[in-house]
């Protein structure tokens, strides 16, 4: 049985029903469920499958394909650190390492307070502000250790869940 709140369940069912082809909603549904469960848990995969009349495997085929669908638990803030060649030129490695060291996590891990996950990421399209990172849909550029500290501090203080594609 579904463990989703009934209103969310209805909302999603309506969203699927409104689509010309239910399958085209699969990524949107995964984003919503990901937001609800914190990440795309096994349960979320099964929920999505039931909503879309797909098998869990069919959902899994997609969920594991995309890098913005998280099949493992993540922190409240997912920090995508750009490792594109331009950011690399500006010593991207040190941004990534600095973040990992600062938060005490390895790549993909969740910080002890459950707040942060650091992931390397494909070029984010913020090359004019290299080195850059993306946190819950917001870009941060021209990074250096001081700036990173300030950003983390700010995020810790004011948590806001602003966008669906984190």
């Amino acid at each position: 049985m579904s463990t989703l709140p009934p209103e969310l369940q209805t909302e999603l069912a309506q969203q699927v029903a409104a689509a010309d082809h239910p399958r085209e909603q699969v990524i949107n549904i995964m984003y919503v469920l990901q937001k609800h469960y914190g990440y795309m848990s096994d349960e979320a995969v099964e929920e999505a499958a039931a909503l879309l009349d797909m098998t869990p495997l069919e959902v899994e085929e997609l969920a594991t394909f995309y890098d913005f669908i998280y099949r493992e638990a993540v922190g409240k803030f997912v920090i995508h650190v750009c490792d594109g060649v331009v950011c690399w030129m500006f010593h991207e490695g040190s941004v990534f390492d600095y973040l990992c060291e600062k938060l005490g996590v390895c790549a993909g891990g969740v910080s002890a307070d459950g707040m942060f996950t650091v992931l390397p990421s494909a070029c984010l399209g913020f090359c004019d502000h290299a080195p850059a990172m993306l946190i819950n849909g917001v870009f941060y550029g021209h990074l250096n250790p001081e700036k990173i500290d300030a950003i983390l501090e700010k995020l810790r203080r004011e948590y806001c869940d602003l966008v669906i594609c984190r």
């Binding site: 098998t55 869990p56 594991t64």
Partner: protein
């Protein structure tokens, strides 16, 4: 017809042929992994690269992706293409483990072959090898993901070709993983085919793991006996044990694939309890001596009571040789019979079906794939003849409409329309469908007088359920625009009139559209042959035995105690006998009860045998080995005994036909038993359906020989098409005994691998009915049948006909308590049991 040159040789191929296929026609095997003739081109493995020297395409391209065109000059040995292919192999081998010696694909591995032939030997990549965790995929398929080369064949077959979606590709790039969402058995009954398709050892055959290498196996073309479709197999035996069965290509029947029942059902041939020793009374005896005793005692009974006191009972699973010889013996000796079917009503249905097939109407499975409208009447393809479901899916993929008229909760891996009506309403549904299929103005014109008269006779009684009626009429309207309709009809649980009705409607469609097909499902791999041999006369041995007229019964490769629906009555009748002679290769109840038992061989052993599938195609099975008790059983797992024997241990069984021929010779005092040639001559004289047998040559048997007459034996329209068969007594349920994919089919029910996957025995009721009766799914219920009580677990379903109760003839269920014909049950005969102790 484009003409092109491949490696300096010219060939013309039909438009649309891919270069890789054109090369294959020239005998040039371009290496490939992802391309498969049944699945088509994909272009993923890049192994089939060739160089196009001239023509519309230039340079190195994939031969599976380019259609042959005029003026093409292709080189498969060009250095650039060769170097690229060498690299492809090297890339594929980067992560492949170093485990050929412990891999079951070793020796039958496409990757091995291509690696060796491509000349790749030294590993230049120094990185770490990628590894994956494996999954449990059920009892048939072993998963070893490290070996994967990502050719996509398994997923393409599993999802696109077969229509099941619990196995697929996950992750991305070189981390891509083929498997299930969570470990568990593969849901598709066609899953075994991914073993044949896998070009390396990722998916291997679990039951035959570690049993032997391909080069040590005695292999040969054989046939599947687990339903009436007659799929072609390659069987493999080693050390007197049947090891494995794979699909064998047959263009008209099974294509490249078989179902899992056919793939793993063969294990009955290795059954540890298989009777391999002749027996007189309780005493084991040499076969010759037992045969002599049998002849002597049968002769005595004949002398004492007259020839009619001996009767013969065959089955639909014996070879045509055995069936024919039994017929000969009966005719020669004046015995009663033979009877081939467990019930007289079933015999009538099968005979009605077979009599209506001719070359103009019968369609093969492959023809079925090209139909554009298919009505399935009274059949549940996945449960009864799984390969039919696969053919239906291919038709649906090409745009066909598939409608299933069946009381069961039918599931098909395709888009289909299911009309759950009771068996009594199937005829009516067919009527309504063909009425709706003809528009008003066309209704009277165009038809020849006979057909028009038949059409006029169709009554237009409506179905009780208006919703169903509407869906049926909508389907009929769809049928109006279709050009190649086919009616698929079963002979198992339908009314006696239904096979004939299906033929009538198909004939009407043919008269209307100029083209229509008829496809029957029959009970057993040689039911067609049995129906032809049985002729028009009806034999009811059970009644004759009850009346005491029969004193001796010869049961040939049949288990009436397992298949006769009224076992109590049969047991009483058997008590009237003085002698029961059994011939079989299964450790059946009837074999155990026989006073004289003569062991026979399976289809895999000793001699050639022939079977006729449901579309009248005579096919040959080649013996793979000499038979005998498998060494693994003789040695009990350890090494075989170090004694030398003249005879093969357990090698006594002989083909049924041979034993019967010897029996005939012994009884008639002839010096030599009839030979196969004699038998063929006899059969071709006996029945016009067999007239082709006399001129049969071995070469004709590659694809099989269609024994169909040019005109059906019973081409006439049924006299009263509008008549509705008798209705069930009001308020009563009709009990339907049905088949399941695994667990009900006789041969397969003796196969250990299939026993592991069979469902529990159950009784299926409509959800609403069960609720009305206060029963919940999963509960144990007692079912009071005419012959006694059956205890079974209850299942419910919504999408089934309301007025029926469905019970599979499960091997683990003592269902033989029903009697012949439809069984009506008052609902109160289904009682809830307090939880079993």
């Amino acid at each position: 017809m484009p003409t092109l040159r491949i490696d300096q040789r010219e060939i013309s191929v039909p438009q649309g042929t891919k270069v890789i296929e054109a090369a294959e026609k020239l005998g040039i095997m371009i290496p490939r992994f992802c391309y498969h003739p049944a699945l088509g081109s994909l272009g993923a493995c890049r192994m089939c690269a060739v160089k196009f020297m001239e023509g519309p395409v230039k340079g190195v391209e994939m031969s599976c992706m380019v259609e042959a065109a005029d003026g093409m000059v292709v080189s498969t040995t060009d250095p650039e293409a060769m170097e690229f292919r060498r690299y492809v192999i090297e890339w594929l081998m980067l992560n492949h483990p170093h485990d050929c010696p412990i891999c079951d694909a070793g020796g039958q591995c496409l990757l091995q072959d291509e690696t060796v032939s491509g000349g790749h030997g030294l590993r230049r990549y120094q990185g770490l090898k990628r590894t994956f965790e494996d999954q449990y995929l059920g009892e048939f398929v072993q998963h070893e993901m490290n070996r994967c080369i990502h050719c996509w064949r398994c997923r393409r077959f599993y999802q696109e070709f077969a229509g099941y979606f619990d196995y697929g590709a996950m992750q991305i790039g070189n981390r891509m993983y083929f498997g299930r969402f969570a470990p568990g058995p593969l849901e598709s009954p066609f899953a075994g085919n991914i073993i044949d398709l896998c070009p390396t050892g990722v998916l291997t055959d679990k039951p035959s793991r570690y049993k032997g290498r391909r080069w040590d196996l005695q292999r040969g073309p054989s046939l599947c006996l687990h339903c009436s479709l007659g799929c072609n197999l390659v069987g493999s035996a080693r050390y007197r044990e049947m090891i494995r069965v794979e699909a064998r290509f047959h263009g008209a029947v099974n294509g490249y694939f078989i179902c899992d029942r056919g793939r793993y059902g063969f294990a009955y041939a290795n059954h540890p309890d298989r009777p391999r020793q002749a027996r007189v009374g309780e005493e084991a005896a040499p076969l010759d001596q037992a045969l002599k005793t049998a002849a002597q005692r049968l002769g005595q009974i004949r002398e004492r009571y007259g020839p009619g006191a001996v009767a013969a009972w065959g089955s639909t699973r014996s070879s045509l040789e055995t069936l024919g010889m039994l017929q000969w013996l009966c005719q020669d000796q004046g015995w009663r019979g033979p009877q081939f079917f467990p019930q007289a009503s079933l015999a009538r249905r099968v005979k009605a079906a077979v009599a209506r097939l001719d070359t103009g109407m019968a369609v093969s499975l492959r023809d079925l794939e090209n139909a554009d409208f298919i009505v399935v009447a009274g059949a549940d393809p996945v449960q009864e003849a799984p390969m039919l479901a696969l053919a239906l899916r291919q038709a649906a993929r090409r745009g066909a409409t598939v409608a299933v008229i069946d009381p069961r909760p039918v599931f098909l891996p395709l888009e289909y329309e299911h009309l759950p009506v009771s068996p009594g309403d199937i005829d009516l549904c067919l009527n309504l469908l063909s009425q709706a299929a003809r528009s008003e103005e066309a209704a009277t014109g165009k038809l020849e007088p006979d057909a028009a008269r038949f059409y006029g006779l169709l009554t237009s009684t409506n179905l009780e359920d208006p919703l169903l009626q509407e869906r049926l009429l909508a389907l009929g309207r769809k049928l109006q625009d279709c050009l190649r309709p086919v009616i698929v009809c079963n002979t198992d649980m339908v009314r006696e009139t239904t096979p004939a009705r299906a033929a009538d409607q198909a004939r009407l469609l043919q008269a209307d559209k100029g083209q229509a097909g008829l496809f029957y499902l029959l009970p057993g791999p040689n039911a067609y042959g049995a129906a032809l041999l049985a002729g028009r006369e009806e034999v009811d041995l059970l009644a004759a035995m009850e009346q005491g007229g029969v004193k001796a019964l010869v049961v040939v490769e049949n288990d009436p105690l397992g298949s006769c629906p009224d076992q109590e009555r049969l047991l009483r009748a058997l008590d009237n006998l003085e002698l029961l002679v059994g011939l079989d290769y299964l450790p059946s109840a009837t074999a155990a009860r026989s006073q004289i038992f003569l062991p026979t061989t399976t289809v895999f052993e000793k001699e050639f045998s022939h079977f006729i599938n449901q579309e009248g195609r005579l096919q040959q099975a080649v013996p793979l080995h000499q038979g005998g008790t498998p060494i693994i059983q003789v040695g009990q797992g350890s090494h075989p005994p170090r004694t030398f024997l003249d005879a093969i241990p357990g090698g006594e069984p002989r083909p049924g036909a041979g034993i019967l021929a010897d029996l005939a010779a012994a009884l008639s005092g002839e010096p030599a038993p009839p030979t196969a040639g004699d038998l063929w001559d006899y059969l071709s004289g006996e029945h016009e359906g067999f007239s082709q047998l006399a001129s049969l040559t071995a070469s004709a048997l590659g694809e099989g020989v269609h024994l169909l007459p040019a005109e059906a034996q019973e081409p006439a329209w049924s006299p009263e098409p509008g008549e509705k068969p008798p209705e069930p007594p009001a308020g009563q349920l009709e009990l339907l005994l049905v088949d399941q994919t695994f667990g009900t089919e006789e041969l397969g029910s003796y196969a250990a691998p299939l026993q592991k996957v069979e469902e529990e025995p159950h009784l299926l009721l409509h959800t609403d009915l069960a609720a009305d009766l206060g029963l919940a799914p999963g509960e144990q219920v007692a079912l009071l049948l005419p012959g006694g009580e059956v205890t079974v677990r209850l299942q419910t379903a919504q999408n089934m006909a309301p007025g029926v109760a469905i019970m599979p003839r499960h091997r683990r269920l003592h269902w033989q308590k029903t009697g012949d014909g439809p069984v009506w049950l008052p609902p109160e005969n289904i009682k809830k049991l307090s939880e079993p102790l």
